[in-house]
Subunit: 211 residues, 2 copies
DNA sequence: TTATAATGACTGACCGGTCAGTCATAAAAG
DNA sequence: CTTTTATGACTGACCGGTCAGTCATTATAA
């Protein structure tokens, strides 16, 4: 006498995948629970067996999307080479991943909006804060490393560079969303070259610049 | 035989000011037209004498907010000095202005979200595209200028630096919204110092770096 | 049998937008 | 100066529609 068993977690993940598409297409408010249920191939009532509210669905959906992205980016940080190499790898992997999944970008924009005002502000806001803090911390750590081994100059402030690079990625993708003729990878490569030249120590500089 | 005549345009502007607060607090979807009417001190019916839809109110509200910001930033571009000076002035004025009006930032986030998905995507999306194109164009123009007079290196790609600086501002303010302990002005000063060093020509560089 | 999953009709709150009517105003008439 | 009247700004009750969330019922596997 045991009941029908389903893998709840797997089912939840499946649902978030369908929800991601709907949210990206219609936004958080614009997507109705009926839309999501239909996209996921389940009934509305069943949905509420997996999530206790629409907000919950959105939250889980973004978490799942983000988890993939973060994992990819973190791996890049552990590449071999100088601090510059690692920083480059991190930025290029991130920009490439965002570029390749640009159709999901509205999900991020929706989260920003949800976290900025309205009833969900408290909840989503603190998630965003810690997320950015983590990203900045890791990036700043790379810069610190570069400074420690004399690769980067003493007057470089890791927090400043980290905040701008992390923020720049967001801002760049935003522009790309509105104008997909931008070659974000190329733009990033060129800009990063300039930044690295600006923060590298004299000795390293000698080797890089010429002309 | 005529009743009291009101200055429609002035009244519209007044209404957008009240609406800006409401939209910033509750978001576009979250703010009801009744909320806005109450905040503006007029009846809902009267509101529809000034604007033909809620979307129209939001659009006008953002336009008014943005117009002030853009004007301020553009002035900074026309300051005296080298290309570096102008670029610095532009970034610092912009970041300062955004910082001082941070309570209005959710309005921007709402617009991004509205422009990214849903029914208003077409309308708001094209506005955003041209807005960013203009900002990048002006910034890139400054870099071109610097290259032309030999202040900046030949291998600097104006479009790349422009896209990243403009995007970086957005991304930085986003982080600031979630964590207002960040000293955005200082972070920007330091990072820009690094960037300018990276894009300056060798000769200029000699003067700047030492140690 | 029985415990659980799944369903979808239903509900009640909310909201954008409308419209018939009110009222303060000021021009015109006496 | 007083009365009449044309005007349009303003009001708020109302309507049609939408949607998040519920629950009584049915299906299914053990």
């Amino acid at each position: 006498m045991a009941p029908k068993i389903v893998d709840k977690d797997a089912r939840r993940l499946e649902i978030t995948r369908a929800a991601a598409e709907v949210f990206s297409l219609k936004g958080f408010q614009g997507a109705s629970v009926d839309d999501i249920a239909e996209a996921a191939g389940v009934s509305k009532g069943s949905l509420y067996g997996y999530f206790k509210s629409k907000e919950e669905i959105f939250y889980a959906t973004f978490q799942a999307y983000q988890a993939e992205l973060v994992q990819e980016c973190m791996q890049a940080m552990e590449s071999e080479g100088t601090a510059s190499d690692k920083l480059t790898a991190f930025l290029m992997v991130t920009v490439t991943s965002l570029h390749d999944h640009i159709e999901m970008f509205p999900l991020t924009l929706e989260l920003w909006a949800a976290a900025s005002s309205g009833p969900a502000r408290e909840r989503f806001g603190s998630v965003m804060e810690s997320l950015y803090r983590e990203f900045r911390g890791i990036t700043a750590g790379l810069i610190e490393l570069g400074k420690a081994i004399g690769e980067f100059r003493e007057d470089v402030e890791p927090e400043a560079v980290a905040a701008w690079l992390v923020g720049g990625l967001d801002g760049l993708m935003l522009q790309y969303w509105f104008d997909q003729t931008l070659d974000v990878r190329h733009l990033t490569e060129n800009f990063l070259e300039m930044v690295l030249r600006g923060i590298a120590t004299r000795t390293d500089l000698e080797g890089i610049i010429d002309v």
